[in-house]
């Protein structure tokens, strides 16, 4: 039986993560959401079997120490809940630094967040770097026909051309400690993490390695019917969510 046929509800939640709690890792965040939902007595559905688990499904892991304006999780509820009040209630039940911004019901059978997300936008601070140097490095990266990068995959060093993963990168200007970049990086086929982009710019610049400061995920993107959209639009935005509401 499908979730809908059982009267279940799948809720997609959008939240922001900022401040000290950015040092809490992905698995711990999942535990915090489970605890918060139990505090609210939210009727979370459980997996069948010997050791039932709450049906929570998170999007792409946010690296520890990064902040985010756009994190997502799907939760299956055994009975429908009031989604109007859910964002504020969940925010109150979570530790300071988490802000739940929106919760919408989605139709059952959608691809999981892990499968659906194709790219992310990032704000990346590079410490101690000069504006001009970084702009030159960006130009080099963007004009390079290929960017071979050695990475450890399954315990073995492998060389990948990561150029296709860089969808966009630009220098947004100086910060108090360095330079801010805004980049759009792919998460599927060939993917690139923000810290790897910084490493890449450092190697293009030659002699010195760069170190990253604050990193913030700005957006996560998915493709629906050929168009790029966010899994849940930020509150107050005029664009309608791309997904069909379940009810």
């Amino acid at each position: 039986m499908t979730a809908a046929a059982q009267g279940r509800q799948i809720v997609r939640i959008r939240y922001a993560k900022a401040g000290r709690i950015r040092f809490v890792g992905h698995r711990d965040v999942a535990r915090l959401f489970e605890r918060a939902m139990r505090k609210l007595r939210l009727p979370v559905a459980f997996t069948e079997g010997f050791s039932p688990r709450p049906k929570l499904s998170f999007g792409l892991a946010l690296p520890v120490a990064c902040e985010s304006d756009a994190e997502y999780l799907d939760v299956e509820l055994a009975t429908p809940a009031d989604l109007e009040s859910l964002p504020a209630d969940l925010t109150a039940a979570l530790p300071d630094g988490f802000t739940v911004e929106a919760a919408i019901a989605i139709a059952p059978g959608q691809p999981s967040l892990q499968q659906a997300i194709t790219s992310c936008d990032w704000s990346i601070e590079i410490l101690g770097a000069a504006d001009a140097g970084i702009r030159a490095a960006i130009d080099q990266v963007l004009t390079a026909p290929e960017l071979p990068m050695e990475r450890i995959r399954k315990g073995k060093p492998t060389v990948t051309d990561v150029r296709p993963a860089i969808l966009h990168v630009e220098c947004a200007g100086p910060t108090s400690d360095g330079v801010e970049l805004v980049a759009s990086l792919a998460t599927e086929t060939v993917s690139l993490r923000p810290a790897e982009l910084v490493q890449l710019l450092g190697s293009v610049l030659g002699e010195r390695t760069l170190s990253e400061g604050r990193i913030r995920r700005l957006k996560q993107w998915m493709i629906v019917d050929g168009a790029r959209c966010e899994p849940v639009s930020p509150p107050g935005s005029s664009t309608r969510p791309a997904l069909v509401r379940a009810s």
Binding site: F23, V24, R31, L32, R35, R41, P95
Partner: protein, 652 residues
């Protein structure tokens, strides 16, 4: 007061598990340290995930924060990666809530639960920017104090500690706060006068106010240096746990820790009289929390934290009077609440079918493993240690467990017990084999793990006079068991490293001369000795040798009956002649029934304090205290006195 946060923050992306250092736990205090108040920093000298759940620390943390004259923050030993960065950047040890530097507090209060953390304690003092030796501290430095079970022999740490609290801390922490508050406001008050005043508080021991002389390997005398200082410091006992329903706001951490669930203490103390068990001896008498208060603490704790698991803590929870009704009540509350299924667990089980029945009541799903502690392999040995579990009790228990769906049984044993023979040691393998065989009758995949630890004779137990087995002897016994269990189907043997047992012996049996040894081990980098990857026996051997001390004298030597023990000037309330008699009874293989349900043996723990066992119900657990020959019958009431205003209802 300042914060190290701006300097710490850029370092955190570079270290493992940075969530250890950010505070923000559910239940953490919002009250910042304030120069006008008495500011405590409670420190557990091990990694955050080990220290955070410590209930003793959390209780005192809350009590101080509720006081108008005090504040309390917490700190833990930073892991090596962060410590290296902190030392390079000149960042001191900080509290996790407000990131206040350690040296800005009035008191740094350490929880001492394990001897192998002693070098971490010294490291934390140093990292806090405070001289490690008490004698080198001056007016502006915080007081370094300690509490917890290890403080019954604080002598190895005497050089580093300004004051030590013996026993329950709930009352004393307030008395110290008042004293320090008065001191802060008094012009011309000195550190020396404060220490002298502290020594005047009942159960507070100030090591620097005592002179110790030695006679070869042993202590010759321990003498107070001032007339007002007590010759013997006795522990504090809170009479009724009902007055202290703490922690009210148990900390729910942001990152995974050990015992990551709600913990509710159902009683303190234990009267089984297991002779190897220091915790059981020093926490007497039994003080049970009223059942209705336990239920309230469980319900409100689960609702507040969002945990779906609660442990009812004590030294032997299945011995809680009328425990079945309590458990039933908790399960009813959970169902009535309509929330998700709550799982209730007990830290240890009684070795009998009754214990399994309780476990079955609690764990309706998730029946994976159960743990029992028969402690020794033969009835003779169990009589010596007064763990009066009969072999048939154990077999009945495991048969009940395997037949009701549990697949793995874990058995805890000690080796190196007084009068132990190879027959006793090998009895462990025999029991494990029989248990595994019982399991196979119910389930092909049934297994039994025998977990073996080396015995450390602890202060204030009847075995305090007994010389600990050498590392070689413990290893020989482990090898005997390895040989015996080889090829046994379904039996796995696990053992505690005998070298770590040796260092526990040095730290728990030594006198003040061990302080210099601990300091040298620390200076040579020997921190996190609780962690096998960091433990280094060679550092300890070298340091003992460098200070002309013999491990044999400190650890393996049997103490003479007339000898002044290093902890002679302290008291856990137990009469020394009671302990000596119990030691003689042990050697004569005479068991002693649970005194809660029998006449008093006058151990001293009740009479000396004008308190008594406080039980929540006159109904003892079915079968009484197992194996002690007490025939109490199932559910029968016995004529015990119920103390205090609670509980009103006597079942019957």
């Amino acid at each position: 007061m300042t914060s190290v946060w701006p300097r710490l923050e850029p370092l955190l992306p570079k270290v493992q598990k940075p969530a250890r250092y950010i505070g923000c736990e559910d239940g953490a205090a919002a009250k910042p340290p304030d120069p006008a108040l008495v500011n405590w920093c409670f420190i557990y000298p091990d990694a955050y995930e080990i220290g955070l759940p410590n209930q003793g620390l959390q209780i005192l943390y809350e009590i101080v924060n509720e006081r108008p004259d005090g504040t309390a923050d917490r700190s833990y030993a930073p892991w090596g990666d962060l410590e290296a960065l902190m030392r390079a950047e000149g960042i001191p040890l900080f509290s996790v809530e407000h990131h206040t530097p350690g040296h800005e507090f009035d008191l740094l209060a350490f929880n001492l639960s394990a001897e192998l953390t002693y070098t971490n304690l010294v490291n934390c003092i140093d990292l806090a920017g405070v001289p490690v030796r008490a004698a080198d501290r001056t007016e502006g430095h915080p007081l370094i104090v300690a509490g917890g079970h290890c403080t019954y022999n604080p002598e190895p740490l005497a050089d580093f500690l300004d004051a030590v609290v013996l026993g329950d801390g709930e009352e004393v922490v307030g008395e110290i706060t008042e004293l320090v508050a008065a001191h802060k406001g008094r012009p011309g008050a000195t550190r020396a006068s404060l220490l002298l005043a502290l020594a005047g508080i009942e159960s507070v021991y100030v090591p620097s106010l005592y002179d110790v002389t030695y006679d070869g390997p042993s202590v010759a005398s321990i003498t107070p240096r001032h007339p007002g200082v007590p010759a013997i410091v006795t522990k504090r006992t809170v009479a009724d746990l009902a007055d202290w329903p703490y922690p009210r706001n148990q900390l729910a951490p942001l990152t995974e820790v050990v015992h990551d669930r709600l913990n509710v203490e159902v009683f303190r103390g234990c009267t089984r009289g297991c002779r190897f068990c220091q915790a059981g001896m020093i926490t007497r008498p039994v003080r049970e929390r009223p059942a209705d208060q336990v239920r309230t603490m469980v319900t409100s704790g689960l609702a507040r934290t969002g945990y779906d698991e609660v442990t009812l803590t004590s030294l032997s929870t299945a011995d809680y009077s009328d425990v079945s009704s309590l458990v039933e009540g908790i399960m009813d509350d959970s169902e009535a609440g309509g929330g998700p299924t709550v799982s209730v667990s007990l830290p240890s089980l009684r070795v009998d079918a009754f214990g399994v029945a309780i476990a079955a009541q609690l764990q309706r799903a998730k029946r994976s493993g159960l743990t029992f502690a028969p402690e020794a392999g033969t009835w003779r040995m169990r009589q010596v240690i007064n763990k009066l579990v009969r072999e048939e009790d154990l077999y009945e228990a495991v048969d009940a467990a395997y037949s009701q769906g549990w697949q793995r049984v874990k058995l805890y044993f000690l080796i190196g017990l007084p009068s132990e023979t190879d027959e006793d040691t090998l009895g462990i393998a025999r029991l494990a084999a029989n248990v595994a065989e019982i399991g196979k009758r119910h389930n092909k995949r049934a297994s039994c793990t025998a977990s073996v630890g080396g015995f450390v004779p602890k202060p204030f137990t009847p075995f305090q006079w007994f010389g600990q087995n050498t590392t070689a002897e413990l290893q020989r016994k482990v090898n005997l068991l390895k040989d015996a269990t080889r090829g046994m189907k379904g039996v796995t043997l696990k053992w505690h490293d005998p070298r770590a047992t040796l260092v526990e012996g040095i730290a728990s049996r030594g006198d003040r001369r061990i302080g210099a040894v601990i300091e040298q081990v620390w200076r040579n980098g020997g921190t996190f000795q609780e962690w096998s990857e960091h433990f280094d026996l060679e550092l300890w051997n070298q340091s003992m040798a460098d200070h002309g001390l013999s491990i044999d004298d400190v650890v393996h030597r049997h103490r003479r009956p007339d000898e002044v023990l290093p902890w002679e000037h302290l008291s856990a309330g137990l009469h020394k002649d009671f302990l000596w008699q119990d030691w003689q009874d042990a050697l004569a293989e005479v068991g002693l029934p649970d005194c809660r349900w029998t006449p008093c043996y006058d151990c001293g723990a009740c009479t000396g304090y004008g308190v008594e066992h406080v039980v929540a119900s006159a109904v003892p657990p079915a079968g009484g205290s197992q194996g002690t020959g007490q025939d109490l019958g199932t559910g029968g009431a016995v004529p015990v006195r119920l103390l205090g205003r609670r509980p009103e209802a006597v079942a019957g």
